[in-house]
Symmetry: none
Subunit: 306 residues, 5 copies
């Protein structure tokens, strides 16, 4: 094992060897093995946005085997999905790639008041399916946040006891934040901090915009002149906000966009000290060859070889 | 063990030896060991106010190791923080200082109706992390107070059974009190009484202002001419209100302020019979050398040597 | 054991010997031992009204030891208080007097819609603290009454299984009754009936006024000319309303008042067949010597010797 | 409460108030109330020896009411019996006298290898029946002793949690001791020590004979010239062996014998510092008047007034 | 915390912070605080050998307070005893010294086939009494060893989850070893290895004699010329056998003997790399002043200052 992986594991000093071993498993898998960097393929859009919106651009993606094979061929560190998608492949691809079972998911069919996902899987499922981690989404800013934090608390405790680390998707959303504010610098940094305080091992947030949402925070950002002009600077602040870089923070790419746009963003993530990317639609909505090319480029940037 | 520590332990005559031993552990740690006085470092602001507002003034504080080291070097009786901050250090600093796991926390991102914290940790976590106590915040005056009292009841019962005492942060807040009234003398005294009646072993309140909020109470304060002109007198009343001084009551300093201002206030706390200070932002937002100097001065005042 | 105590116990024929033994314990304690009459000291005002309103008139009462000592010296049948007050004394005064743990309590700080107490203790606590009974307050007339009745149902069931009887404070309050109607004869009688139907072993109500609140009830009271001119007559009706006198009904004195006023009222309670008095503020807000004198007079009246 | 009772309670400093209150209940009952001395009536011989052997000498004793009435009339501190005998009377005599539910019992019908009692009652029964303590017999010296110790461990833990103290009958018996050795001084002292180490609150042993059974022990008794010529001296040694007198040790009288013989023995028990007598057959096999006379004499001796 | 204590803690890398904190608590207590060395006072002889054999040489020891006071005054790292002895002192001495609850104990009254202790306490008791560790005795060589190993397995797992380390007394005994072989070098080393493999955090064995019991082992000891002529060499071999010194191994002194004899033995223990001594009879059977002198000398030798 590389020194870097050992160093990262040392930040999780209260965890049992099982949790550490599963973190190591992800860090020692794929093209980025040993670098301490992550590129994860997540495919929860079928549940979150519906099938056609998710898979029509590349109909191969209707098939659950498509995604795990894409993740394996690309050399991702892990593949994350809801229960059904993992059930469909975990047996046939057992041992091929670390799996992350997303334990809660939100749909876009029901009318939403304060956003709150449904818990759709369990730690028991994660063990049964041979997963390396559980995943959970929180919506800081939602009027329902407390229920989410409390459910997460129990799942983390349960998962830790059986050696599973937790990946937290921290997406500010709800009546406490404006639409723009969902990716404001202060809000994203705050979401990362909350996830870390709740006990997340890996934190997934969106790249923040050069914007400070909360008036109280704005005074501080101005007073201490926290650099935020470039995405690189903002990423650095978010990573700092997650225990000064002692928690793994990875960033999503959000909506599908052009290759160059994606890579330019990833370069800033890497420059800012991000631990990697979690890339869904930008990967699986492209034709496979193109997707592989893109993912390889993203990995190379994170590895510092591109 | 000193006579004073033995005397304080004698007030908890219904508790098992485990609870008493952990109270003793805190009272026998640090510069104030044996005096029956407390200076505790609490760092929950990352979750409560967000990372930049908490740590930008002294960026070393983004790192969870900074705070426990500050508490150890200063010779505090204990260090209190939410789950994530304790997870990040409990293994590497095992046995270095008594830890208090704050079991519920409130964020300032979501739009709040009646204030109510989320339960973000458990008694099981406290044992696993080697803590000497659990911490819990109640908001007397909140429309959601009953849910908080009821959750606390269960946690105290569970914690007592495994030998852990409970520190209750009693912060009046919500539709039942005016903004000013949150630190009114009658309201703070009432909050201390409620915490004591709920079974708290250590009660943390804010220093009260010379103001009586509730009309019914005002009649009584006037009729019996309860002295309230000086902070010293008001502290004495609050300590009296917590079982006539037979429960440990400590006071926070609130927002960051100047050193002289802090020390002047602490002198009045000590004169009024406070059992100590819980000092967060005023400590960790200063440069370390300055923070140590301040904390040592605070300890000296409580010890009666300054 | 006296014939009268045996007779009273015979009314609880469905209860196990443990419940009966604890009822007997209370009836065989203090100055009224063996008479089947009760004088109980309840001190929950610290939580319900705040410390200064409760204890400033007689500051000795800030100390939890004061009240249990007062109850013992006066020769009360039992002492009732919330968790914290009992925790503070149960160990040092173990076995000195039967204790009643008040399992729910209401504060007067929060803005209240429909009145509803918080559950602040458990049957497990009552056993651990060596109590002879649990206490619980219901607010008939509150929009939240059903939640209270349902929580009570579970607690009574649990308490009965471990041999603990239940004392129910039945205080009509909330949107269903006018302010005056809270002590109307029909309302108090109805509250006593509800408590009895819910399974209370001892029922505590306020002395009713000569007033009938509910129109439907008024017709009946008039048609059958239920006597209500004197307090004695009204007490007789309330006792009749609690299973024709086959449940123990005791009466509170309410706000502090003059000694003669108190004793005159108690004489009517006794004449009307009350099983006793539960006397808080009128006792503990007086200087101790005076309180003892008053309590002894109250006991003598209930015993028929004054 | 007397100073002596408070002093005895202080020896049980790790117990909750419930356990202390029940110990106090027994010490504050009957003719010996307040002295810290005990006379307990135990009637388990129906199960242990069969009905005729137990009750034919005084056929009134076939009726379960006889024994509890005898205990009440005599002014005993408590009455101890197996489940059935208590079920038969606990309802009708609720609150009349503290009850001790003997949780295990041995019969003399089955062929016994290594002696071992059957567990015939539970802590739940004890609560339901309103008991003040549980009772349990161990047979140190039996090849089955470990199973007995382990069952006792669980019952004590369970009983303590609900406020019930434990009375342990420690009767050496089985392949590890000779018939004579069952009441040898070293063996009885050892049995008392074992019961105390197992967590017994009250220990019941037989008066020892002037005999040392174990060769290894004999060397020590001789080397240190432990006085053993008189029963008084031997009792003193047994009491010393139960935590230097800081556990309550009471003595049985064994088989029925003449009044003078009984009283002479009790005089030596009292002189040696015994906390009292537990007297079964010598009491209930006599005609009632005679039994009352005997028990009163025994009480007077323990109280130091005869 | 000293570098040495940190180093020792680093050997327990799979344990949670609670277990580490309790190991640290013991290593940071008393005269040897910070050295990584241990002197523990164990007093289980009352149960194991009977009261007279244990306490007649120094009758002060009949009183449970004597031993914990001796341990505190001597500056021991911890005090170990069965349930009863700890119950008798844990409340009054709460927080004065780390306690080890011996969870199983063996008596010498019953006729023993294959040796096997009774489980006489629980992890729940250890928490309730505020203990820093649990203790458990195994008899490698006994025909009943497997039952002991299996019970230990469950207790260690339960204790670890709540942050309690385990001290294993490993005493070869039973039909598998000759009387002499119980302290043969190969047998003691084997017992230490088994305890370590079972998950013990601290291992307690007897100093081995220059003797190899098992024929198969003898061939190896001869072939590889394992040095065993001096006790120092044998201790080195035993420590090596407990994970090459990466588990804490401490040694008992066995039967009471002369001061010079004890100190000479301890010098060899220290020279051989022992982590300390656990000294019962040699301490508590001496007059207190002499015992303190001896314990201080033993500590000085382990600390390298004598």
């Amino acid at each position: 094992m590389t020194t870097r992986v050992k160093e990262i594991l040392s930040w999780y000093g209260s965890d049992n060897p099982g949790v550490k071993a599963n973190l190591a498993r992800m860090m020692n898998t794929g093209r980025l093995a040993g670098t301490g960097k992550f590129v994860i393929l997540p495919v929860d859009q079928g549940f979150e946005h519906g099938p056609a919106r998710s898979f029509a651009p590349n109909p191969a993606g209707y098939d659950p085997r498509y995604h795990i094979e894409l993740a394996i061929e690309a050399g991702c560190n892990a593949y994350a999905a809801p229960l059904g998608f993992l059930e469909a492949v975990a047996g046939d691809y057992a041992g091929d790639i670390p799996l992350i079972l997303k334990l809660n998911n939100s749909d876009s069919l029901a009318k939403v008041g304060e956003p709150c996902s449904a818990v759709t899987g369990s730690v028991e499922d994660a063990l049964r399916l041979g997963c390396a981690a559980i995943g959970y989404t929180i919506y800081p800013g939602s009027g329902e946040r407390n229920a989410q934090f409390e459910a997460l608390r129990e799942l983390i405790l349960e998962a830790k006891a059986v050696g599973l680390p937790t990946v937290v998707w921290a997406y500010p959303r709800g009546s406490g934040v404006s639409k723009d504010g969902e990716t404001a610098l202060d809000v994203v940094a705050y979401a990362a901090q909350m996830a870390a305080q709740l006990g997340a091992h890996i934190i997934k947030v969106k790249p923040p915009k050069d914007l400070v949402e909360q008036p109280e925070a704005r005074k501080v950002y101005e007073k201490f002149a926290i650099p935020s002009a470039t995405l690189t600077e903002r990423i650095r602040h978010v990573v700092q906000s997650a225990f000064n870089g002692r928690r793994i923070v990875i960033f999503s790419g959000g909506e599908a966009k052009g290759t160059e746009e994606v890579l330019a963003e990833v370069r800033e993530l890497a420059a800012g000290g991000a631990f990697g990317s979690i890339m869904g639609r930008n990967a699986f909505q492209r034709p496979k060859a193109e997707a592989l090319q893109l993912l390889h480029a993203v990995m190379a940037i994170h590895a510092g070889t591109l």
